[in-house]
């Protein structure tokens, strides 16, 4: 497989990526369309972006979404990291199988089931639906994604560092914060970003678990999308796509750089020995 790419390979990649990206590119292009009609190009204009600024419902929903994302991603990162440590560093304990099942199942569970079951729980325990309930719901499904991301980092790194620290008398909790956490930090950060993105993108689970005063941006977009394609919605979507793209690329560059620094430091340390 080192002979380079054949024509067939190049074609597979070109067509595949065209399929993945063309619809998004078209959507963004048409958000700058002056015409109200979707298919007619009426010249370049930013008027849909301007009209967004006056759409208070959307702005309010965006604010709810951002707060929800920040809060739920942070809680999910803490819980997800604990879950990853449990799965990789705690050995056997009673109920381990059930635990790993509960961590992996939400990754593939259809959203309608997660949403419905959580809503029924909230009704059963008499918790009023609103910002709190939707936050709990988002934490629950996104912590599992964090756990998987952090876990893959935990299984792949050199445990002798942790062992050395503990042999030298460092208590387990300190070892975690001084040795383990700095090493797995890139994974924890990408876990947080994943949780944040899942939260701001989620529609179905929010529909079930939210209540008055906590309408999220995807819910607003969904209700207008059902009525047809609108240039204003193209503009909101384009902004979201832009933010996500910048965030993901910036994060991957930062991770790469941190990784290189670490490798360099490790090499320097090894050479200095």
């Amino acid at each position: 497989m080192t002979k380079g790419l054949s024509t067939v390979n190049v074609a597979a990649l070109t067509l595949g990526f065209a399929f993945l990206y063309l619809p998004i590119v078209i959507l963004v292009l048409y958000s700058f369309n002056d015409s109200q009609l979707v298919t007619v190009w009426g010249g370049f204009s930013t008027r849909w972006y301007v009209s967004l600024l006056h759409n208070e419902q959307l702005l309010e929903a965006a604010w709810v979404t951002v707060r929800l994302g920040l809060l739920s991603a942070t809680v999910a990162t803490v819980l997800g990291t604990l879950a990853a440590v449990t799965l990789t560093r705690m050995g056997r304990f009673r109920g381990r199988t059930l635990f790993s099942g509960m961590v992996y199942a939400p990754l593939v569970m259809p959203e309608v089931i997660t949403g419905l079951s959580m809503l029924l729980l909230f009704v059963a325990i008499g918790l009023d639906r609103g910002f709190l309930t939707v936050t709990i719901a988002h934490v629950t499904f996104s912590m599992c994604f964090v756990a998987v991301v952090v876990q893959s980092r935990l299984v792949s790194f050199d445990r002798s560092l942790e062992e050395a620290a503990m042999d030298l008398g460092c208590p387990p909790f300190r070892t975690f914060f001084v040795v383990t956490l700095p090493i797995i930090l890139p994974a924890v950060v990408s876990g947080w970003m994943l949780a944040f993105t899942l939260s701001i993108d989620d529609l179905v689970i929010s529909q079930f678990t939210t209540g008055p005063g906590a309408t999220t941006l995807p819910m607003r977009i969904y209700s207008s999308v059902r009525l047809g394609v609108k240039p204003e919605i193209n503009a909101v979507c384009s902004i979201l796509i832009g933010l996500v793209t910048i965030g993901v690329i910036a994060a991957s560059i930062a991770t790469k750089r941190a990784e290189n620094e670490r490798l360099k430091a490790e090499r320097a340390a090894a050479a200095g020995r």
């Binding site: 595949g16 990206y21 619809p23 298919t39 449990t86 635990f99 593939v108 959203e111 876990q151 690329i249």
Partner: protein, 307 residues
């Protein structure tokens, strides 16, 4: 615990680390399923909450007895009697299965080419596959509405170049749902495939070719079998959520396309029938429990292998 010095050797700390996420998932992930099960056995009423019987503990033991005797399988009978539900299940499984095969056909050549690409550009290619996944599913599905609708861009384009004389009706058909599912879940198929193809031992292929095996034969006898774990993981990862998909059939499938996720959603939000939607959820979970268990098995073996 094999290693007494592992973090959490202090039993209290150990239980705090294990207990916090454990308890959270028990309360907010596992317990709700039992509530769904309970409500699926209740009856619909016009009240708040819209089901009965309610467990009234103030009546003491009698309350428990009344509640228990009020539960029955009526909703499940309804599901077997009304063809709508039966069709929904079957067509969900069918649509998800066909989409999975389509994704495998599109994703395998992509993943194969990515694994063959020069080492330097591989991370960029992986990034390019992941990036659309970070964009909201809703937005990606919405993008297709503008393309597929009768007055959409695809028809405008095809009419202009004269390939068709009247618009194609793709929107609100099953074809649109296939396009939507394949488009939305493709990254989940490509990434596991790529992961297994990338770590393939090239010396095996070289040995085969030295011994005179033609490339297509080496591909079938070496590459494909060794990439099977990736194929299995990818298929589960896309098939299971696709069965219960709601947004895609709702926005692209129109009223013709029945999928169980959509039926559940409508039963809950339009008809406000909580017991029936719970029964649908229980049956959907029963259908999916085998693939989910298999998927977890594959996952944990993968993790064990990495250790």
């Amino acid at each position: 615990m094999a290693d007494p010095k592992a973090p959490g050797a202090n039993p209290l700390g150990r239980w705090a680390v294990i207990g916090t996420p454990y308890l959270w998932l028990l309360v907010f992930f596992l317990a709700p399923f039992f509530i769904v099960l309970k409500i699926s056995l209740s009856d619909t009423t016009i009240a708040q909450p819209p089901y009965e019987p309610l467990l009234d503990l103030s009546l003491g033991w009698q309350g428990v007895v009344d509640w228990w005797s009020g539960l029955d399988f009526e909703n499940y009978w309804l599901l077997t009697e009304d063809e709508l539900y039966w069709f929904s299940y079957v067509s969900s499984l069918r649509i998800a299965a066909i989409s999975t095969v389509l994704m495998l056909l599109i994703g395998y050549p992509m993943a194969y080419a990515m694994a063959k690409a020069p080492k330097g550009i591989r991370p960029a290619l992986v990034m390019a596959v992941i990036l659309p996944f970070w964009t909201s599913l809703l937005i990606r599905v919405y993008a297709w509405i503008g393309i597929l609708s009768p007055e959409g861009l695809l028809n405008a384009f095809l009419l202009k170049i004269g390939l068709i004389s009247e618009p194609l009706y793709i929107m609100n058909t099953e074809t649109a749902v296939f396009i939507g599912i394949v488009y939305s879940y493709l990254p989940f198929m490509v990434l596991p495939l790529y992961a297994s193809l990338e770590k393939l031992d090239h010396t095996l292929l070289e040995a085969a070719s030295d011994l005179g095996s033609p490339p297509w034969k080496s591909f079938w006898q070496i590459t494909v079998p060794l990439s099977l774990p990736g194929v299995v993981a990818g298929c589960f990862l896309v098939f299971i959520p696709a069965v219960g998909e709601f947004v895609i059939p709702d926005l692209l499938g129109g009223s013709e396309t029945l999928m169980i996720g959509k039926t559940l959603y409508n039963e809950f939000f339009s008809n406000r029938d909580w017991p029936v939607s719970s029964a649908i959820a229980v049956l959907l979970l029963l259908v999916l429990v085998v693939p989910i268990a298999l998927y977890q098995n594959v996952q944990s073996r993968e993790v064990e292998a990495k250790k």
